[in-house]
Amino acid sequence: MPEPVRTHEEGRLRPNLSEPPGCYNSTPMSTTPTAQQRQGVDPSKPGPSLPTPGAMDTNATDLGQLETLQILDDNGRVDPARDPGLDSEELLGLHRAMVLSRAFDARMLTMQRQGEMGTFAPNLGQEACMVGQVWELTRQDWFSPSYRSFGAQILRGWPMEQLFMLWAGYHCGFPPPEGVNDLPFSIVIGSHVLPAVGIAMAIRRRKERDVVVVNFGDGAMSQGAISEAFNFAAVDQAPAILVCENNGWAISTPSKYQFATDSLAVRGPGFGLPTIRVDGNDILAMIVAMREAITRGREGGGATFIEAMTYRMSLHTTADDPTVYREDAESEPWKKRDPINRFELYLKQKGLLSTEAAAEVRASCDAEVLEARERFRNMAQADPEGIFENLYVNMPPELERQREEYWKRLKRRGIGGQD
C-alpha cells in the first residue's frame, strides 16, 4: 500500500481576538524555527543537540548547577540576550490569553460556590505555564492535558461553554471539538502520558512533522506510568514534549514527601531526554523553552522533558481546603511572581499596555466568559437516553437489551419515549 500523503499545515494556533470566545482561526505563519537568541548559543547550529542554558543532556551535565531558564524577572525586566523577540500583537495576545484564563477561573469558582458547577481544579497562578505550553503549537500538533489545564484548552480551541459543560458533569463536554487535536483531559493522574507518547510514536512512523505536548503535575511524576512514558519517548525518539508543571503541591502533599531531589528536571537525563527547567511563571521563558522542544520534535530529534516551576495559588480543587495543610506565608513570595502581573509590568515598561488598557482587557475577558456562561446555560441539558451510545461502534445485542431495560426505567421516571 502506498504511504498515505499527509500535508502539514504550517500555521500556529492563535486565538483570533475578534472572534467569539473559544473559537479560533488559525492564521498561517511560518514555522521556520526562530533563531535561538539565548546567550552562548550558536544560531548556525540549530536542531536537537543545541546546547542551551538550562537544558541537560546525559553527556555532560552538572545536576547541581541546574539552571532555571528565566527571561522576565519578578519586576518585569527582560533579559535582552534571551528575549524571544515577539511582536506586539503576539505579546498582547499572550497577555489576553492569560487574563482570559484567569477570568474563566474566577467565574468557575463563583459558579461552583453557587451550585452551578461541579468540583473543579483552578489554574490560578499557573496561567503562563498553561498558555506558554500551547502557544507555539499548530492545529495539527496534539495536546494531552491534565485536569488543571483549561487555560491551555481555551487557547487550543475548546469553546468555553464546552468546558463549563464538562465541569458541570455533561458527557458532551468531554470530546475534543472537531479540528482540535486534543485528548480529553485526564483525571486519572498520569494515565494520559503514555497515550500522548503513543501519538508521537505514530507521528514519527508516519513521517509527519507534528509534535505532541502533554502536561502533568509534580505529584504525577511519582506514577510509574510516567517513567515508562519517558522511556518509551526516549527510546522511540518520538516527538513528544513532556511538560511537568511543578506547582509544589499534590493536593496536601508537598514536594518533600513526593520526591527526594531538589528538582524534577533531574529525572529527564536519567531516561536520555533532553531536559529544560524553566520558570513557569515567566511566559517568555515558557515560549523559548517550548520553541526549542518543538523544533527538536519537528526535526526528528525526539522528545524533550520540561520542568516548569510554578505555584498553585489557589485550592487544589473546590473540594479542598488548603488552610488545613499549608501556611499562608508560603504563598506570599509567589504573589510577586504572579505571571500576569509580571508580564504586565513588562508590557507597561515596553509601552504596550496602559493601566486602563489592562483594565479593559480584564473587562472584555470577563464579558466573554459571561457570554460563554449564557451559551452554557442555554445548552446545559443532560442526555440520559444517550448513556449507552459510543461505547462500541456497533452496540452488541446484550447491551441493546440492557438499554431497553434502562429506557423502561427512564419512562417510569418520566423521561424519554424510546419504547
Binding site: 461541579g118 485536569y147 483525571i187 486519572v188 513526593q258 446484550e398 440492557q402
Partner: protein, 327 residues
C-alpha cells in the same frame, strides 16, 4: 453510644487499632495532616506521627507494593487508595503479591494488609471516581472483600479487617460517608468477616444487596411490605468474598424468589455469582428466575446522568413485584 457518620466511625476504628497495636500504620495520599480527602484519617497524623500515618508519593502501585513489604516484616499497614478507580494502578501488586504471597510462601510470611478505598456513585464526582469493581477482587483468589453499609458495621468490620490475618479489600460506600448518623458503641466492637446479615426476616422474597444500595433497598422494603404486602427478607452481604452462601441459600430455600441489587456492572457481577450458587444449592426451591438489578455494562456515566444509572427504590419495587408475579 455516640451518633456517628460512617466517616467518623471509620476514623474511630483506625484510632482504636493504632492505639492498641504499634504495628498498625496508615499510608496513602493525603492521609496525613489533611486527614484524607474524605477526612477518614483526620487527627491520626497529629496523634501518631508521620512514620505511622504516611503521606505517600502519588503512586498506587507503590503504596500497595510497599504495604506488602511492610506486612512481610510483620507490620499491619492500612493503605488508603483515594478512589477505588485508582486501584487499577495497583492491580499488579494486589493480584501478584498481596493476594498470593501468603500462598506462595506456604504461610511463611503474614500478609496483613487492609486496602481501604471509597467506591460507588452518587456524589456527583468527576469521571473515574464512581467505580464499583468488587468483581475484580471477588474473582481474585486470596483476597477478602468487605463492604459495610452503615456507620456501626463500618467500624466493626474495619476493626475485624485489621485483625484479620488475611489481606482485605475494604470497599467504603462513599455515598454513605456522611449520609446519616447511627449509634456507635463506645467500646470496641467487631463483626465476623464472611457473614451476611439478615436485616429483616421475611418469607416471600429474598432481597440481597450491600453497600450504599442497602439504604435504597430498605426504603423499597418498607413500601413492599406496607403497600404491597410482600414479606421481604432483606440480606446485607457485608462480606462479598468469601461469600456467605449458607445465609443466601437458606433464605431462598424459604422464599423461593430472589432479587439482587448492586451498583457494579452486570456481566460477571456479584449477582451472577449469587445466582450461580443459588442455582447449585437451592435450585429445587426456586419458583421464579432470580432477578438482578445492577449497574449496566457501560462506564459509570458523567454525573448529570448518574442518578439514572443507579437503581432507586422504585426500580427495586418494580423488580420485586415482577419477580413475585412470575409464574
Amino acid at each position: 453510644m455516640a451518633q456517628k457518620t460512617m466517616v467518623e466511625a471509620l476514623n474511630l476504628a483506625l484510632d482504636e487499632a493504632m492505639a492498641a497495636d504499634d504495628d498498625v500504620m496508615i499510608m496513602g495520599q493525603d492521609v496525613g495532616i489533611n486527614g484524607g480527602v474524605f477526612r477518614v484519617t483526620k487527627g491520626l497524623f497529629q496523634r501518631y506521627g508521620r512514620d505511622r500515618v504516611m503521606d505517600t508519593p502519588l503512586a498506587e502501585c507503590g503504596i500497595i507494593g510497599t504495604a506488602v513489604g511492610m506486612a512481610i516484616h510483620g507490620m499491619k499497614p492500612v493503605a488508603e487508595i483515594q478512589f477505588s478507580g485508582f486501584t487499577m494502578q495497583a492491580f499488579d501488586q494486589i493480584e501478584q503479591n498481596m493476594a498470593r504471597l501468603h500462598n506462595r510462601t506456604m504461610g511463611r510470611f503474614p500478609m496483613r494488609v487492609v486496602l481501604r478505598t471509597p467506591f460507588g456513585g452518587g456524589i456527583r464526582a468527576v469521571e473515574h471516581h464512581s467505580e464499583s469493581r468488587e468483581t475484580y477482587w471477588a474473582h481474585t483468589p486470596g483476597l477478602k472483600v468487605v463492604i459495610p453499609s452503615g456507620p456501626r458495621n463500618a467500624r466493626a468490620l474495619l476493626a475485624a479487617a485489621i485483625d484479620d490475618p488475611d489481606p482485605v479489600i475494604f470497599y467504603e460506600p462513599k455515598a454513605v460517608y456522611r449520609a446519616f448518623r447511627e449509634d456507635v458503641p463506645e467500646e470496641r466492637e467487631t463483626m465476623p468477616i464472611g457473614k451476611a446479615e439478615v436485616v429483616r426476616p421475611g418469607k416471600d422474597l429474598t432481597l440481597i444487596s450491600y453497600g450504599a444500595m442497602m439504604r435504597t433497598c430498605r426504603e423499597a422494603v418498607e413500601d413492599l411490605v406496607d403497600e404491597f404486602n410482600i414479606d421481604v427478607e432483606l440480606i446485607d452481604l457485608l462480606t462479598i468474598s468469601p461469600m456467605d452462601s449458607e445465609t443466601i441459600c437458606e433464605s431462598v430455600g424459604k422464599t423461593g424468589r430472589c432479587l439482587i441489587v448492586h451498583e457494579g456492572h452486570r456481566t460477571c457481577g456479584i449477582a451472577s455469582e449469587i445466582i450461580a450458587r443459588i442455582n447449585e444449592s437451592a435450585f429445587e426451591y426456586l419458583e421464579a428466575p432470580i432477578r438482578r438489578l445492577t449497574g449496566y455494562d457501560i462506564p459509570f456515566p458523567y454525573f448529570q446522568t448518574e442518578q439514572h444509572f443507579l437503581p432507586d427504590a422504585d426500580d427495586i419495587m418494580t423488580a420485586a413485584r415482577e419477580t413475585m408475579a412470575w409464574e
